[in-house]
């Protein structure tokens, strides 16, 4: 019994079909509990007031946005090495979710930044690298949409994902360097994880776990529908001949 067995689309569909209800229910429960807990049962921050509660959406979405790219990278490498179609489709399925999470992270960040920093946007390394991540997602999705043959598209996007990861990492460090070049002190980037008090920390962990489960649920759903689309087009092709 090996993990690779689930590279078989039939087995994958069966397993994911069994997992989906649990995943989705658990995700819903955890997000609702965490958000409810965070929004209504934690005190306001003494400096930031109620706006601190944006944390419960901002941090998990940013977390998922970055890790979705890592998941795509791993899935792309698996596809290039072992040629499992499910892997390529999972990478394709994760991209729209990743870009959506990036947008959520950016928008909630802007909403939080306006009252706290007095600006919607600042060319701070963290913000800039998130914007760059958004661009990389955009290119990846555009390439999937542009290539007609599915296997070619999977190959090309996989290579793009790997090369893109290298350059995204480079850009990350470039932005840190670039910003320090502008203002000497990184005045705006607060290291969130370390400064958060326990009161805020526990609900945050619950919401983050919920977001991760949500991501898994959505990826499974998207991958399933991709597999079914693939089957439908195969049947249609057969019907024409």
């Amino acid at each position: 019994m090996s993990f690779w067995e689930y590279a078989n689309p039939v087995k994958f569909l069966k397993l994911s079909g069994n997992l989906l209800p649990y995943c989705s229910t658990l995700a819903a429960i955890m997000i609702l509990t965490g958000l409810g807990w965070g929004f209504f049962f934690t005190p306001d921050d003494y400096k930031q007031g109620a706006t601190v509660k944006i944390l419960y959406v901002h941090v998990p979405s940013a977390f998922v946005a970055i890790n979705a790219w890592f998941m795509m990278l791993i899935a792309s490498i698996v596809w290039l090495v072992r040629r499992h179609h499910v892997s390529a489709l999972a990478a394709k399925a994760a991209a729209p979710i990743g870009i959506a999470m990036t947008v959520v992270g950016l928008v909630t960040g802007a909403l939080w930044g306006q009252p706290m920093w007095g600006t919607w946007w600042e060319w701070d390394p963290k913000l800039t690298s998130f914007l760059i991540l958004f661009l990389f997602y955009l290119g990846y999705i555009a390439l999937w949409a542009a290539v007609e043959d599915p296997d070619t598209a999977a190959d090309l996007t996989s290579v793009l994902c790997i090369v893109g990861s290298v350059f995204a990492a480079l850009s990350r460090y470039a932005t840190v360097f670039w910003n320090q070049g502008l203002h000497q002190d990184a005045s705006l980037s607060i290291d969130k994880e370390e400064h958060v008090a326990d009161v805020f920390y526990y609900p945050l962990i619950v919401v983050m776990a919920g977001f991760v489960l949500l991501f898994i649920t959505l990826v499974l759903l998207n991958t399933r529908s991709e597999i079914m689309m693939r089957r439908a087009s195969a049947i249609m092709a057969r019907g024409k001949i």
């Binding site: 390439l143 290539v147 190959d155 090309l156 090369v163 893109g164 350059f167 480079l170």
Partner: protein, 218 residues
Amino acid sequence: MITLILRDLRIAVRAGGGFGLSLAFFFIIVIFFPFSIGPNLDLLSKVAPGTLWMGALLACLLSLERIFALDFEDGTLDLLATSPIPLEGVVIAKAFVHWLTTGLPLILLTPFLGVLLGLQTSGIIFLITSLIFGTPALSIIGTFGAALTVGIKRGGLLLSILVLPLYIPTLIFGAEAARRGSEGFEMQTSILLLLGVTLLSWAILPFAAASVLRINLR
């Protein structure tokens, strides 16, 4: 490989090869910046390094599609793929020719444009240094993008969406080096980092570009 480089050079320089086009484009873009910003030389000399970098990047982008498109259409690329030279070598030759026909003329034109934008002599020297170290990276990254989109009809717009994010590190380090140089700060770190990005690109991207070419020629 030298034969291939000479052949591509001849094609590029010949009429219709588009050799002067990207150069003219660079010229026009840079000249248009004062029109949009205003004729204030103080302000212009401040944004000049960034402007020239941006112009070089866009001019480079414009000529990328031509790297593989013609060879792909008339089947030369298939012959090259089956020829004794490894496809990685073909990619390097193509990128090198692209740099010779785009990057190098841009660098030669830069002093004149720098004067137009009110840069001091020292600033121009630093700008040229950063361009010399940075434009080869633009060429090889662009060649990878061109290889990626070679099979796609009307892939020009897609090409820019794919390639521009990959240009970010080069642009940041290059423009930063030029800006620091023209403002009189030390620029060694950014130049070294820029050189690092360029060398890394030339080390890994020929393999990536060759592999996507093989996929596209399948």
